[in-house]
């Protein structure tokens, strides 16, 4: 019996082993190449954008960044006010959405009764699922008129002495301010859902310690909960910033697509992404197309630095926290 089973085993084992080994190898390489492609995609995008922008880079050089003109018939293009518009709208948006998102996250993690937490959190996350083109449509016909009618006059009657809040043309609806509001709505769900996870991750003992020492809930939040995840909160805000920097559709729908920029945010303006989106049917000459890709390149560089800056801030505040 033993003698019979040994050759049988010998004939089976190598063939099965071979198939398994080949299968394992093949599977390893197949999935490995897939993951490599996912990684190389990022480099591929940067390379193609750089290549597409190259004619415009050669033609305009770095003065493209400081020139402020967009004249297709004359083939003159520049990005200065588009860059400024991008920075103003996205920083304006995170200035509004940052504090609101942290407050929402505190509500969802510390204040709300357990029965409300789940549904309220889901509703706020649903805000992130609304497609940007729908937010833009709503922005044109509901938010922007409301803002022009009530918000903008109210703000400029109080802060009008500051140039950027000075009263614009009478009730103009497509404004930089409308774009800021739209971007605020779009960034709130991103920042608040990350902050909520962060606050929930703060060790209970720390928070209970603060309460045990007689702190009120607000004092606990101010001295324990928020400081212990400060780096993460900043990163969450910057993630919102990244979304705001790159949003093209909703912004182009409400901002009015106009350069040069006015001094006031209650006037039409434009951003990098919005200008690119707005030109999709109008770009004819190769130089114009290349200039549009140049805009996309600048956008990539800005969002890269925003993310890089966020990581630096996170690292530094983590170190500080570890040191104290």
């Amino acid at each position: 019996m033993e003698a019979a089973s040994v050759p049988q085993g010998e004939t089976l084992a190598p063939s099965r082993g071979l198939r398994d080994r080949l299968g394992d190898k093949l599977f390893y390489w197949l999935t490995g190449i897939a993951s490599l492609i996912s990684v190389l995609l990022v480099l591929g995008i940067i390379w193609r954008i750089l290549k597409g922008a190259w004619p415009a880079i050669q033609h305009f050089g770095l003065s493209f960044v400081s020139n402020n003109v967009w004249n297709a018939p004359l083939n003159e293009f520049g990005a200065r006010d588009l860059i400024i518009g991008t920075i103003v709208t996205s920083f304006g948006a995170i200035l509004l959405s940052g504090p609101i998102s942290v407050a929402i996250a505190l509500f969802l993690s510390e204040i709300a009764p357990p029965a409300i937490r789940g549904p309220a959190g889901t509703l706020i996350e649903m805000l992130a699922a609304v497609p940007s083109v729908v937010i833009g449509l709503w922005g044109i016909y509901v938010l922007a008129p409301f803002s022009a009618q009530y918000l903008q006059p109210a703000i400029s009657s109080v802060l009008g002495w500051i140039p950027i809040f000075s009263n614009g043309q009478d009730k103009v609806e497509s404004t930089v301010f409308a774009a800021i509001l739209v971007l605020t709505i779009m960034t709130i769900p991103i920042t608040s859902s990350i902050c909520r996870e962060l606050f929930l991750g703060v060790p209970e003992e720390l928070e209970e310690g603060a309460i045990g020492l007689g702190a009120t809930r607000w004092e606990m939040v101010k001295t324990v909960t928020v400081p212990s995840v400060r780096g993460g909160v900043i990163a969450a805000v910057i993630l919102g910033l990244g979304r705001a920097l790159g949003e093209a559709i909703a912004v182009t729908q409400v901002i009015g697509n106009f350069i040069p920029l006015h001094r006031s945010i209650f006037e039409p303006g434009d951003t990098l992404a919005s200008r690119v989106a707005n030109q999709y049917q109008g770009a004819i000459t190769n130089l114009q197309i290349s200039s549009l890709i140049y805009l996309a390149l600048i956008l990539l560089v800005i969002s890269f630095f925003a993310n890089f800056g966020a990581q630096l801030i996170v690292k530094r505040s983590d170190r500080k926290l570890a040191g104290s």
């Binding site: 897939a34 990684v39 597409g52 407050a103 709300a112 699922a129 729908v134 093209a248 890709i293």
Partner: protein
């Protein structure tokens, strides 16, 4: 009767602290309420303006001739289905294979790298991805395969696939990491090879999670406009299932109608927005619910 000297009512500094606390709590509640109210107003605006324009023609007919009432968005609905189908066919295998490599084969350092690059890709502005695909297969034909050279559903679908890829891959990684190691070890102990273990044990266990993650990505891709602007924007008004043609899509229809001067088209834009928002909210809510359930189920095995 003497009045009690000791009360539990806070005074002075303590009272101020309690007031500050109360103010902070009310502010947090107000912030959360305002976000929910904005969502409510948005959905209500879209629903109240969109439903009145909905009828059978809206789903079965093409756009009316300029300035005439009626007409529908059938070409856009079909186009969106074609685009999302192409995007899913491309993104799903790539995303899942990437996730399998990261969770089953890759050393930790490489896994961290893949995660980092996927997050970077996810952070790229979607309009930049549209421009990338435009330079790759719209402006000129792809060198070897010879496809492209013009706008098409394939180009638009590939752009949407790049949007979906990091979402699919990250959610698949998360689910694969939840598969209990005992299942894998049990399979190895029976002499099953690694790839057979992945295909027969790991994937079936995590299939529900992977599919719901994909559904969330589909909901996101169905609403994306920016990647389509330069890749699949200029299309005929007829229903077209051919992926090598440029097709209409629901988001782009909303975008162009919203900027049009014709009030009839505004009504159609709201109706299309209603269709899109219902699709997106229902699919993402369902997927989220299923994802929570499958996570809990996998969690219990541990």
């Amino acid at each position: 009767m003497t009045t009690p000297q000791l009360t539990l009512r806070a005074t002075g500094r303590a009272r101020r602290r309690l007031i500050v606390n109360r103010v902070a709590e009310v502010a947090a509640i107000a912030a959360a309420l305002s976000a929910i109210v904005v969502l409510g107003i948005m959905v209500w605006s879209v629903a109240s303006r969109g439903i009145s324009a909905l009828n059978l023609d809206f789903f079965t007919k093409g756009p009316a001739l300029f300035g005439q009432p009626g007409g529908g968005i059938a070409p856009a609905i079909v186009g969106s289905i074609v685009l999302v189908a192409i995007a899913t066919i491309v993104a799903l295998p790539f995303g899942v294979m990437t996730a399998i490599f990261v969770s089953e084969f890759a050393p930790k350092q490489w896994a961290d790298q893949v995660r980092l690059w996927l997050d970077t890709l996810n952070g790229f502005p979607s309009i930049v991805i549209g421009i990338f695909v435009y330079t790759l297969i719209v402006k000129e034909a792809l060198p070897v395969l010879g496809i492209g050279g013009h706008q098409s559903a394939i180009a638009g679908g590939v752009a949407l696939a790049i949007i979906m890829l990091p979402l699919v891959a990250r959610s698949a990684m998360e689910v694969l990491a939840l598969v209990p190691n005992g299942l894998r070890e049990g399979s190895y102990a029976l002499g099953v090879s690694k790839w057979q273990t992945v295909v027969r044990v790991v994937l079936p266990t995590s299939l529900g999670g992977i599919l719901t993650g994909t559904t969330l990505a589909i909901a996101r891709a169905a609403g994306e406009t920016a990647p389509l602007l330069f890749t699949c924007a200029i299309a005929s008004n007829a229903v077209d299932w051919n992926p090598s043609h440029s097709v209409q899509s629901i988001p782009l229809t909303i975008f162009t109608y919203s900027e049009s001067a014709d009030p009839n088209l505004h009504a159609q834009a709201w109706a299309a927005a209603f269709v899109l928002i219902v699709f997106v909210l229902v699919t993402s809510l369902t997927a989220r619910f299923l994802l929570d359930r499958s996570r809990r189920k996998l969690g219990l095995h541990r």
